[in-house]
Symmetry: C2
Subunit: 235 residues, 2 copies
DNA sequence: ACACAATAATTGGTATGACCAGTTGACCAT
DNA sequence: ATGGTCAACTGGTCATACCAATTATTGTGT
């Protein structure tokens, strides 16, 4: 009936505003940000809040701060962190289809590699755990439960792939999709509604057939795409 | 002859210390960070510096802050940003070989996709620009110049791939390698010392042969690996 | 002894105002 | 043209107070 109230720290709001202005291009690379004192006036908050926001922007490589020399906007195409994807995706009211396509492509490419490496490297114990999860998926009742199991499945795959870089990259991707789903309930079909496909992939992994496993994953992810985005070039 | 002097803001030092303690596992997931006031005493700095550091840590998803309820350490395996790779790589005095291997695998996988997509999508103008760059590479004198040209080459590839997610992911990877080279001059052979291989790849792209281009990239990147890391499973 | 509401203590969030420390540019002397 | 001096500006640090949310404690009634 009621919705949770949106509480947000001041530094958070300041951060979001400046970030979006940079991503929208209102603030262009090379531009100087107003001085911290001026920003205090403009946002009507104290300097601490401004500085905290600036630290976050710096962390995302959106700006460069120089002691005594002002703060400069960077080109996020060249320096921006991949953590910007959620913000880029939802810059306007509707999700940006071009960005969405990019994210899906990235997920597909990374996913394939994870499945491949996991197939080649993972222990029997990992395969057993994956087996357990798919079984639970098949007789799961609620969507929310299948979603949780799907997350479990991927987490296990990532551990099996023995690659921390992929693990961290997936964290970012997951945040991106979380934000997306939160704002737009059904932009994407949910791959976790297809437990049988998970099982097919696992079968391939159990026989250590990485090519087949990749192919099954491709099927799992691509069939979940809306037609407007399905014009991706497959290998 | 001379080196730039290492100047670092206080909040920066605080940030680095806490970050490393989390990555090292001294601070475990679920642990409570000391309160901001206590941290002030421990680090002997002002509360503003502490708070700025905390904002950065939060941005990296290393901690979770709750108004009035303290600050909790998160499991970076599950939540951490991919921006942690540079720190993970150089946690101890020597680069962590396991992490290094992960990063190289990620670079290879992403690189292949970028080359593939660029081959399929890029304009003739992009191909011309790539041609220019490789020509410059061939008659470049200094290493520093080849490095710059190599960066140019990749930047152009990324634009040609028309995928913002890959672009941002590469920014992170580039930072990782920059940090690595900065600390350890010659852990890796430098792929930009092999201009001919760049040209072979470009030839494949010009004939829109994405499979061949991928293969040439594989050769370019894999031959640059030290033998201790070359036991990667190739597809 | 237990449940529960009121209260106190703790923790993060915001606000001022001051001063320190680099950067920049104008001006000047060499 | 080079380097020094100075003032104005910008980011960095500090101390202190108070607001706001959470958590622990206390006290009350049953």
């Amino acid at each position: 009936m009621f919705q949770a109230v949106n509480k947000q720290a001041l530094s958070e709001k300041v951060f979001a505003q400046i970030r979006d202005q940079i991503l929208l291009g209102t603030l262009k690379p090379g531009d100087k940000l107003p001085s911290e004192r001026k920003l205090c006036d403009m946002f009507a908050v104290n300097r601490g809040a401004i500085r905290e926001a600036i630290k976050r922007l710096e962390q995302l490589q959106l700006i460069q701060v120089q002691h005594g020399g002002g703060t400069t906007v960077l080109d996020y195409h060249c320096h921006g962190s991949i953590e910007l994807l959620p913000s880029l995706l939802l810059l306007n009211e509707q999700p940006n289809l071009s960005v969405l396509k990019s994210v899906l492509e990235l997920r597909l490419a990374l996913g394939k590699e994870v499945v491949r490496l996991c197939t080649l490297r993972c222990s029997e114990a990992t395969l057993s755990k994956l087996e357990e999860i798919t079984v639970s998926m098949l007789d799961s009742q609620s969507t929310i439960q299948r979603e949780e199991l799907s997350t479990q499945f991927w987490k296990t795959l990532l551990i099996g792939s023995e690659n921390i870089a992929y693990q961290l990259a997936f964290n970012t991707l997951q945040r991106t999709f979380t934000v997306l789903r939160h704002s737009f309930r059904s932009v994407l079909s949910q791959e976790w509604e297809n437990p049988k496909q998970y099982q097919s992939m696992l079968r391939a992994m159990q026989s250590r057939n990485s090519a087949k496993a990749e192919q099954e994953l491709n099927h799992l992810l691509v069939t979940a795409l809306p037609s407007s985005l399905s014009n991706m070039e497959s290998p």
